[in-house]
Symmetry: C2
Subunit: 307 residues, 2 copies
């Protein structure tokens, strides 16, 4: 029941109204691996890092059952670096610095040991890299989940549309769903996207939860109302990691089980925002996760007599 | 199990990206009565109208079990009139005209026949009128629900705070909860509001659903994802009407039953936005409501194994 994860392992430098993180480990594949490894092992990591990437981070992930054979190390180069500053509402942010570094010419190579992965998640990356990974995995994984962002819609739409035809589940946020389809109504946007390739669509709405669309069905998962969102960086990737982790653990890709997986993803994301970067994800126990899932049940559970 | 409703019965003139309504019947008490009368009768209406208010509207409401004895008719004056225009996102609107007319010097008088009402809902009105109604009802209703808006926080905060101490449930939207408390986090805002009088707080988030807070508990009800929101006018009042209607029908004011009541309110609101004004509320059947409630169950229902 192995899972392959493709994405960035990088440095983030985050400023929020609550403080500054300085340079800490981030990147889509980092958050996905930290979240998913609570549910499934091995997690086959595919990424690229520079010689500056901390050894203790690699050791910590290895200790969680994350395989590093597919992580290229370019010793004389620097890891991908992003710096950003959140506005007071914590919903919008400015990018201050983006240094692609090792990511600039990243050509993923899937190790033989990763072949046979039943689950694949493509973290936010150039669609060409995402397609390259799909084409290297033989047999095709049972389920392919793809994350993307508005940037690729702006600069690589044609490749993005090609990649969409190769995946089962697409993850985007509300504004990205609108941009991709030209539809303001998320229900209309979802209908269009479900004709573009993916059979399942998850629209993330941040603090307002997430919607899962499949055929004519729709499911809604709330975000946990929190006193404080300390740092939203990586929450979407953590959500994705919890989602795919639960699916890979249960090996059940039915719509019903995807509902549960989205709740698991929402629970993991609710931890992520409590501290800078992936710090909180390093600390939490199985018991913390169970308690948090119970909170989600309480949050949305109601009885109704429909007679 | 009677319910008393206080609020406006008025004319609205609405413009949306989809068209113009021209002058149609609106007002908080109208929407509340149309929604609540699906669940409980009589609905004891308290309001004020001018000689221009349509007789067929009064007859239609009477036919639904809405008592009109508490509705003052000022034959030589005009009914309250509001005109507004929604922006493209349908979330924000500009008020074009507000004519208070009969509302300017409204002094509610509770008829003897309304005494003994177990449930009271105070639609959005000046806090002084809301307090006057509470003080006239003897014995005090079993549950008092109050709606209000930012306008009263701006111009009558002292009276508003006094009124808050007299009610059990407060209904506000997210920006109003923030304005009332100075807290951006809705969880922090809720904690503050629950020290100001109400034991229950509902924060409406429009298309993003609604939160119910009580002591340390929180419940979340989604809005139904719709292809099209045709006209949001009255959706909040309709939500309130469904909420209080379910409570009055079941006579159960436990937190558990309030969860169900919020789902009922959300279902009623989802009808309201489908056509101009209260038009859709006039058409729907008991069967339509049951089908819609079933959609809400499907929307949020999930299974999870917490072992």
């Amino acid at each position: 029941m192995s899972l392959t994860v493709v994405g960035t392992m990088a440095f983030d430098d985050i400023e929020t109204p609550f403080g500054k993180s300085d340079k800490i480990v981030g990147g889509s594949a980092s958050f996905i691996a930290w979240a998913a490894s609570n549910f499934v092992q091995p997690v086959n990591q595919v990424s690229v890092i520079g010689g500056d990437f901390p050894q203790d981070e690699l050791a910590a992930l290895t200790g969680r059952g994350v395989a590093m054979e597919g992580v290229q190390v370019k010793k004389d180069e620097k890891s991908f670096y992003w710096a950003g500053k959140y506005h007071l509402d914590m919903n919008s942010r400015d990018t201050l610095v983006t240094e692609l570094n090792v990511l600039a010419d990243f050509q993923p190579v899937i190790p033989d040991s990763y072949q046979g992965s039943e689950f694949l998640i493509l973290g936010n990356l150039t669609p060409q890299v995402q397609m390259s990974v799909i084409s290297q995995l033989n047999p095709r994984p049972k389920l392919i989940v793809m994350d993307t962002m508005n940037f690729w819609m702006d600069v690589a739409l044609e490749d993005l549309l090609k990649t969409l035809k190769m995946v089962d589940v697409l993850l985007v946020n509300d504004s990205e769903a609108r941009q991709l389809t030209g539809e303001y109504s998320l229900v209309k946007a979802a209908k269009k996207i479900l004709t573009m390739g993916p059979r399942y669509l998850i629209i993330k709405k941040g603090e307002h939860g997430a919607l899962l669309f499949h055929e004519n069905h729709v499911f809604f998962a709330p975000a946990l109302p929190l006193e404080e969102v300390f740092d939203p960086t990586g929450a979407g990737d953590t959500f994705a990691g919890g989602f795919i982790g639960h699916l890979a653990k249960t090996k059940d890709i039915s719509f019903e089980n995807m509902k549960t997986a989205i709740i698991v993803g929402s629970a993991m994301a609710s931890f992520c925002v409590e501290k800078f970067g992936a710090q909180r994800l390093r600390e939490i126990t199985r018991e913390d996760i169970t308690t948090r899932l119970e909170q989600f049940v309480q949050l949305v559970n109601f009885d109704i007599d429909l007679v």
